[in-house]
Symmetry: C2
Subunit: 291 residues, 2 copies
């Protein structure tokens, strides 16, 4: 029987742990704070931001949203980043992506103060992650959520072959590096990979972050493989009130009898990402306050 | 018959190309410059520095060596880095490693001006490499030498499985990332890897940078594999005047009939590293002078 890696339940535990810490800080008059910069009003961004806001407020983390018009100038946006950089109430900063096309994401993300960069997108944080200076690095939330989930289910990484499908700067690449730093053997496959199954079949842990709906089925994996499914894809489903349901990059029903453990979609990696954002915000607050 | 990937010959070609460029700069009164910071007088460091000095002088690159006593203070060393950072004659800076134990290498390397960091060891250069901002990143010389050698022998990377043995910040990790950015599938194996041959046998290109003398033999690879041997290990040999000879991480005689191409040791990757250092220095000079 496969273990279901329950990200929702795990996130709740993380929140409980953080709540205790934050309550103690608040008794001392200290409050961690998160600031989000939003440009335009994409529906999906609205949803994500509202989830983050709710999570912060439940925990007692100060929350500030700086909304901007779709057509905001680069200069104006830079000033907002500077404002949050210098604001003592704010310890973590998120620039909600994607930004409209006229703005250079790399340029804007590079302005976020490195120690407030709770998304881990600044090049120097990326570099420190690669160089295994994990005390200095702010690490992207989704891959650190995947590692945390494996840890909390006592699934070891040492010596294991972790195969990552997808090579994004936000998930695939940092995921592979985090696993490597935990002494896993790592492979990164992507759209250009030849003979992909030759590699995925040797995976002890398969992390799917390629954004291809239900691409991975049982023929891709070996018996007893652990699957972390980062994919979130909407599929039409008339039996649902919303008209659609969410599925991952893995064909869950196909693999469920072959895997030893798997994350569901939804309720797996998704909630862990928010859990780690909260954890990173509290960590950034501690670094800035007590070091 | 295996192709011998001749690093010595290729380095000579690179030097000829650079010479033409540098001569043109010098006609305009412009001279690229390289500065090296040395601490103590390790014999191997002396040798490497002398090779770099000779290479620079042959090409017309201005060369400055700043030697320091073994017991130099951190403050004094920092001042030397600052001196080279601000010196207009110097476009590339190397801190010759390893430093004595009382000095924090990461701290010193982090002070080198990013655009003069021809070794590519600054965290922000590392981050830009990971983030595929290759126009901004200064990349470590050994892995970029490996890629250059493959390119000059028209060995394609796209879609190929590149397996790297070793995960150092200087060779293994950046090598894997450079290959990934060229659309290779990548795997990184190391001392903790279980079932290593299961992975190396699927390699189209095997990069050996683990520092284990002649560890890889024909049983590790598939027919037609390309091997890049980064290892340099001294073995006692009484038939040699020096009393030793150099071998790689690969048992050359064991694999030679099975590979499609291979770098010799010596004369493979070693000369490419110096070739790339010269190329990076000229590139840094151009970035600083013409941008």
């Amino acid at each position: 029987m496969a273990t279901i890696l329950d990200g929702k339940l795990t996130q709740e535990k993380i929140r409980e742990e953080l709540k205790i810490e934050i309550d103690e800080f608040r008794e001392q008059g200290l409050v961690p704070g998160l600031g989000i910069i939003q440009v335009g009003n994409r529906k999906d961004s609205d949803t994500y931001i509202r989830m983050k806001e709710r999570a912060c407020k439940n925990l007692g983390i100060f929350f500030m949203l700086m909304p901007h018009d779709e057509n905001v100038s680069v200069e104006h946006l830079k000033e907002s980043v500077r404002f949050l950089n210098e604001n003592n109430q704010i310890h973590g900063i998120i620039v909600q992506l994607p930004l409209p096309i006229h703005l250079n994401e790399a340029e804007i993300l590079g302005l976020v103060r490195k120690d407030k960069d709770v998304d881990g997108f600044h090049p120097e944080n990326t570099g420190n992650l690669m160089l295994k200076r994990l005390d200095k690095a702010m690490v992207p939330c989704t891959p650190s959520g995947c590692i945390e989930l494996l840890d909390r289910y006592d699934i070891p990484l040492l010596g294991k072959h972790v195969v990552v499908l997808g090579r994004s700067n936000i998930v695939g690449l940092p995921m592979a590096l985090l696993a490597l730093h935990r002494n896993a053997t790592i492979s990164i496959c992507h759209s250009r990979t030849e003979n992909i199954m030759e590699i995925t079949k040797t995976a002890d842990i398969l992390v799917c972050a390629c954004g291809k709906r239900e691409m991975v089925d049982s023929s891709w994996i070996k018996e007893g493989c652990v699957i972390i499914d980062v994919g979130i894809n909407a599929v039409e489903d008339k039996t649902k009130k919303s008209g659609y349901r969410l599925v991952g990059d893995v064909n869950y029903n196909s693999v469920i009898d072959k895997v030893s453990a798997i994350t569901p979609v939804p309720g797996g990696v998704g909630p862990m990402t928010i859990g780690m954002l909260l954890k990173h915000t509290v960590q950034a607050f501690k670094n800035q306050t007590f070091r």
